[in-house]
Symmetry: C2
């Protein structure tokens, strides 16, 4: 019995149509990364589990795909070592014994590992981009996959806000090339820390930001209720509330926040951390004004972003005309490489969500029309003689960069036309004995039906017709 073929849950095959769209996305992002001087690196799919464990929280540890040690992983393993008195197995300890490697979970931790491992070969500030798949043993569901690509750009070894600017410019450049209208939301972790400080609950910065983050979904009153539940006093909430309703341009928001951080809030507390965050935001917005950003950029004081390693600017990008989560995000981290023994290497990075961008471009019909056109000319197969006549012509066209095919089998013309149609090939050539006798090739534009004959050496003429 033949096996019924299938792939693991949460993984995907990409056929030519999806690949065309995906390559358009990756190529566009890659070209912009390069334009700003970012260089590519690649790291192995497998990392030592020691590199990955403990970097993504307990939940992340559970979601790592572990690879059974090669060879005879279980030989010599004494299972009683991994069983407690009641005969219950310690599954976690046993899996560590038989699995030393795991699939990478993101590109950030491998990048930090790469920078530390190769620090003597790199020149800092080091600007790299990396476009590779990552794997997570999440429960598969709509839009959540166990294998997906990340497209990251990071610069490490520079504290200048110029880097933040550059990432904003990259975002602006990429989405403008895609023809999408987006809103680039910016906040700063130090401002969020400052907000917790002036509310009198510096330790509750996470609770506060988690609550604030929901304001769009649940509204102001529910956010206040949640903060109260988390132990914030009414006085503290009275300090935070005005921030949530701040209106105006970015310089107005910064001024209003600066007043609060300087002690003019209801608590009277001054936050140096908050003021530092506002200085950074102000510098960044002066730079974006000088550089000129086409897309909308705004300060969103409710933007928090989940990953705990961020310490400065944080970014998030939303599509304006399509309902979907954030399509790009990132931020500054002051000590990512510290865990691998290289402290004080501040970095800032951004990650594009290729799967969501694909959905947005497809949903809005923004893929360029010719993204799927690979082959431009199909030469119909009219027999062995005709093929020998066409081969040198096809060769010269290919050398000029034109993609063309000679139909391999002698089949009915209908079948050959169908092939051209299904592959969206725009030009077909039916060149038989008559044309050979005249030394010409026929070409037909399948879109408008226009037909033309060209001398077989007139490659220039053919190029003009089909391009």
């Amino acid at each position: 019995m033949a096996q019924k073929p299938s792939i693991p849950k949460g993984t995907r095959d990409f056929g030519p149509a999806e690949m065309a769209g995906r390559n358009y996305i990756f190529d566009t992002i890659r070209s912009v990364f390069r334009t700003y001087g970012y260089m590519p690196i690649e790291t192995p799919a497998m990392e030592n589990l020691g590199t990955l464990l403990g970097k993504y929280g307990d939940e992340g540890d559970k979601l790592l795909f572990r690879i059974l040690n090669s060879g005879d992983a279980f030989s010599g393993v004494d299972f009683t070592d991994f069983t407690d008195g009641d005969g219950r197995l310690n599954s976690k300890a046993l899996s560590l014994k038989v699995c030393e490697k795991g699939l990478r979970y993101d590109l950030t931790v491998p990048f930090a590992r790469f920078v530390v491992q190769h620090q003597n070969e790199l020149s800092f500030p080091f600007k790299r981009y990396q476009i590779q798949p990552v794997w997570r043993a999440d429960r598969p569901q709509k839009g959540r996959y166990r294998e997906f690509y990340q497209c990251d750009a990071d610069v490490i070894g520079s504290k200048s806000q110029m880097n933040e600017l550059e990432l904003v410019q990259i975002v602006d450049h990429v989405f403008t090339l895609f023809g999408l209208d987006v809103i680039i939301k910016i906040n700063n972790r130090k401002v969020l820390a400052g907000l917790a400080e002036i509310s009198g609950f510096p330790d509750k910065v996470t609770d506060i930001t988690v609550a604030i983050d929901k304001i769009d979904k649940i509204g102001l009153e529910s956010v206040k209720a949640e903060m109260r539940e988390k132990g914030l006093t009414d006085d503290a909430i009275a300090v935070i509330e005005p921030v949530l309703t701040l209106k105006g341009g970015h310089m107005e928001k910064i001024s209003a926040m600066r007043a609060l951080m300087e002690g003019k809030s209801a608590s009277g507390i001054v936050s140096e951390t908050g003021l530092k965050g506002l200085d950074e935001l102000e510098e960044l917005f002066q730079l974006t004004d000088a550089a000129g950003i086409s897309q909308e950029v705004e300060i969103d004081l409710s933007l928090a972003r989940g990953l705990n390693y961020y310490t400065g600017a944080i970014f998030e990008v939303k599509a304006k005309d399509f309902e979907i989560g954030s399509i790009c995000g990132g931020g500054r981290y002051d000590n990512l490489t510290g865990i691998f023994g290289l402290p004080d290497m501040s970095g800032v990075g951004i990650s594009f969500g290729a799967d969501r961008i694909y959905d947005v471009l497809k949903g809005l019909g923004k893929f360029p029309e010719d993204v799927m056109t690979a082959t431009r000319i199909l030469f119909a197969n009219m027999g062995a003689e005709e093929i020998r006549y066409l081969l040198p012509i096809a060769k010269r066209l290919r050398e000029s960069g034109i993609s063309c095919e000679i139909y391999a089998d002698s089949a009915k013309l209908k079948k050959q036309f169908d092939y051209a149609d299904r592959k969206s090939i725009p030009f077909i050539s039916i060149t038989g004995g008559d044309e050979m006798a005249k030394g010409v090739v026929n070409l037909k534009n399948l879109a408008d039906g226009e037909q033309k004959s060209f001398a077989k050496n007139d490659i220039e003429g053919i190029l003009k017709f089909v391009l």
Copy 2:
């Protein structure tokens, strides 16, 4: 204690310099695949073990990387079920219980699985290329990695020799673009089967080809000794020997072989299979003659290739000026998709060895000089004012496709020059207060020291200078 970072044995990090070379290789091969109408697909890194097991022989099964089932893989496993009477563990059975998925071992089996699974969405003949990593739990050694890329092109659903021709053209086109001289060796499995038939040992085709394959290394006498060892009679060897010493052009070799297959060998046996193989070879060489192949192409009757699924033409490519194994290989298989329930789908494919091609290009100094140049202009950071002045200029240059960087930090010029040097940036701009007052930018060609000033709006002039 910080962890000392490392990666698993047999895997590699690729920094910007290696990536530049690798991307040049992949981009070149990809562009040629496209020119012949091949379309990209991608399959998941993980396949169900049922898809992979038994496809690569017992040795291959052992070299599959298995992935521990997500969640609590060992809970509920009764280890006594996997232990024999003597308390010895059946490691193989246990690993099948706790691992349902494995990392792909090549691109051919996943491609066959893809074709069968998506047969109703594909249009045949289906021409696809696929460039993705594969994983093998081989013992790591020089030049053998546990993770490496394969670059495959296959066409499936057509028996025409036009497909074989196209793959030869692709090989020719790719290596000509690389500036390498190669020899493209061609044989046909049916001819090898025919040789076994006329020797009177049709069942010993594998033994015969394995022995013949070694002629370059061990010489004719040792090949004969090996065949004798495998049970071939002196009469049989007397039939095979003349083939091994055949000289001449491809049409001469085909004629000589045809005579033998028609019964004119010492055994007098006629081989229909052998004759069919010779017909295929002859048709292919008529086509290569008509198309015009720049690289050397030869029939190598001792070419066997290990993979057992080949049934017709087989190819192998060797670099002429560099000592290394084959850098490209492939062949025709008549029933690859049969194992997944789709019989009678003949296909033919080719695979480029990117790692070896990298070594050859590097060893012969054939990488283009500018392959590493990413950024063309570094604007030195002379202060905040200067940066605001430069930002719109850099923006316009980037929009014209020029990669440029503004040094992010205010650092000594020496440090900024060092950065340009280490990144091989060919142009630097030192634009300070004087230039701002005049409304110009300075540019210096670091290769020849030429300096020029341009009006800040003269983007055309700058482009001309730096390109």
